[in-house]
Subunit: 256 residues, 2 copies
DNA sequence: TATCATTGCGTCATATTAACGCAATGATAA
DNA sequence: TTATCATTGCGTTAATATGACGCAATGATA
């Protein structure tokens, strides 16, 4: 099917396939070069960036929809995702954006379910940066990682959604497998500490951090050390998944 | 407008007034006689009980919808409410229940937006039991408080929603004005402790509890003591709202 | 071979928590 | 009138957690 035909069909008949008035938006967090990142899409014909979002099939669980949307729109597969908040301001509507999009695509339509008001459910995803190759979809011209401190202009209330996701990530740091999902399988203690510092947005004492993390027993130190650093080489660690799962149930047992 | 006509109109034309495929369900918590309670409705012609729920007007914020629904369906007004989770199982549909309801009400309809699938957003409300006089609405035959440990059979996944709300309440105990909203203006320390014990579902040491609560400075002790008890009379306390708000921002500063 | 940033492990003073003691209170029963 | 008793308010103590910092070891680079 041609691209224009696909778009026209989505606008004209999508309501037969998807639930109405509800969308899902995904915030994909990654960690790279000691910085927290989010994956954003740029819609065709639009200067602003957007969260990867989409709709729920009429017979689909919302969690599955979020995973499918993420896969279809960015190529990212099989990740840890969780709903975190519903955004329901009455004036959050894609009407103008979608009309402009159609106009630029050379499609004319008077009515569409996509001109209606949408309530959106925010999903937060944590991915291993090194395993993700962002691929923009049909309706996007670009798909890129952005540093959390260097977010470009975004459509609608997407900036607000992003901020809420970050706040949520902070709150849940001690109760969810944040480190496990954001870091590669093996990592050094300074890397893990930097991740915590970035999310919490404050410095932590190196020695106390190590002591507390190790006291939970969720990490296993490997015999291997990092190579090629111009100072004492740090050990690699990896998560002891069994103990991690267990520890998470009652919080981490410490405050950072 | 007659009752039947109102119902018929809701089923036949409600989709012009409300958003589709989305509903809101409220869990109203109260505290009475040292027990945690929830307010439930019994739909006409149905044996099972249900959470007070409803729909979002096309131009209404979801938070406002939740408040309006609670007011319309139970008479409860002006309370502390918060969304806590979205329930989206594909098979959670009122189709059967609504068809039965129509049949019993003597109304015939082949098609209705209310036969479609609904995703529902759970809202948690905390109310002062003593200030609430439950009033069932048009479509409900009864409206009653139930002890949290003695919940009757409920429609659809409402039991699941209730359990999730309780779990959520537990998690947020140290970060939200739970005590402030669930207790009357003045209360004794044993009452407050019992509230915490009921929500957390475990015993707390009386003396340590008092010391920790008081150390936060969120309570003001009154000069008045409780009358008519066959032992040493406990003092009354009330919340120091200014300090309470402040303390909540960084958690309560202690673990219970 | 010296330098230097960084790491791993340790110390110590202070704060927080859990567990428990005890006198005071005031309605009820003797 | 007085003793009884469950309960309250306030306090003590030991164990544990936390925050702030010291110092020798490491290993690429100068």
């Amino acid at each position: 099917m041609s691209w224009e035909k696909e778009i026209r069909q989505l606008f004209a008949e999508g309501h037969e396939k998807f639930l109405r008035n509800i969308s899902v938006d995904c915030i994909i967090f990654g960690f790279h070069e000691n910085e927290l990142k989010v994956l954003l899409l740029q819609a065709k014909y639009a200067g602003s960036w957007a969260l990867p979002g989409g709709f729920i099939l009429k017979d689909e669980h919302m969690d599955d929809a979020a995973k499918r949307i993420l896969q279809e729109r960015t190529g990212v597969d099989d990740v840890y995702m969780q709903q975190f908040y519903v955004f329901s301001e009455p004036d959050r509507s894609n009407k103008k954006i979608n009309k402009l999009f159609l106009k630029n695509a050379g499609i004319e339509l008077e009515e569409s379910w996509l001109f209606e008001r949408f309530i959106t459910v925010g999903y937060s995803a944590l991915v291993d940066f090194s395993k993700v190759l962002p691929v923009p979809d049909n309706i996007s011209s670009d798909c890129k990682w952005f540093n959390i401190h260097d977010i470009p202009g975004m459509i609608l209330d997407h900036r607000n959604i992003l901020d809420k996701a970050l706040e949520n990530l902070r709150m849940q740091l001690n109760y969810h497998p944040v480190g496990y999902n954001l870091l590669p399988e093996k990592f050094t203690m300074p890397e893990l500490q930097k991740l915590y510092e970035t999310i919490l947005d404050r410095k932590l004492d190196r020695r106390n951090f190590q002591r507390k993390i190790m006291s939970t027993g969720i990490l296993k130190r490997l015999d291997e050390t990092k190579k090629g650093v111009a100072h004492k080489a740090p050990y690699y660690y990896k998560f002891d998944l069994r103990k991690y799962q267990k520890a998470l149930k009652g919080g981490m047992g410490f405050e950072l």
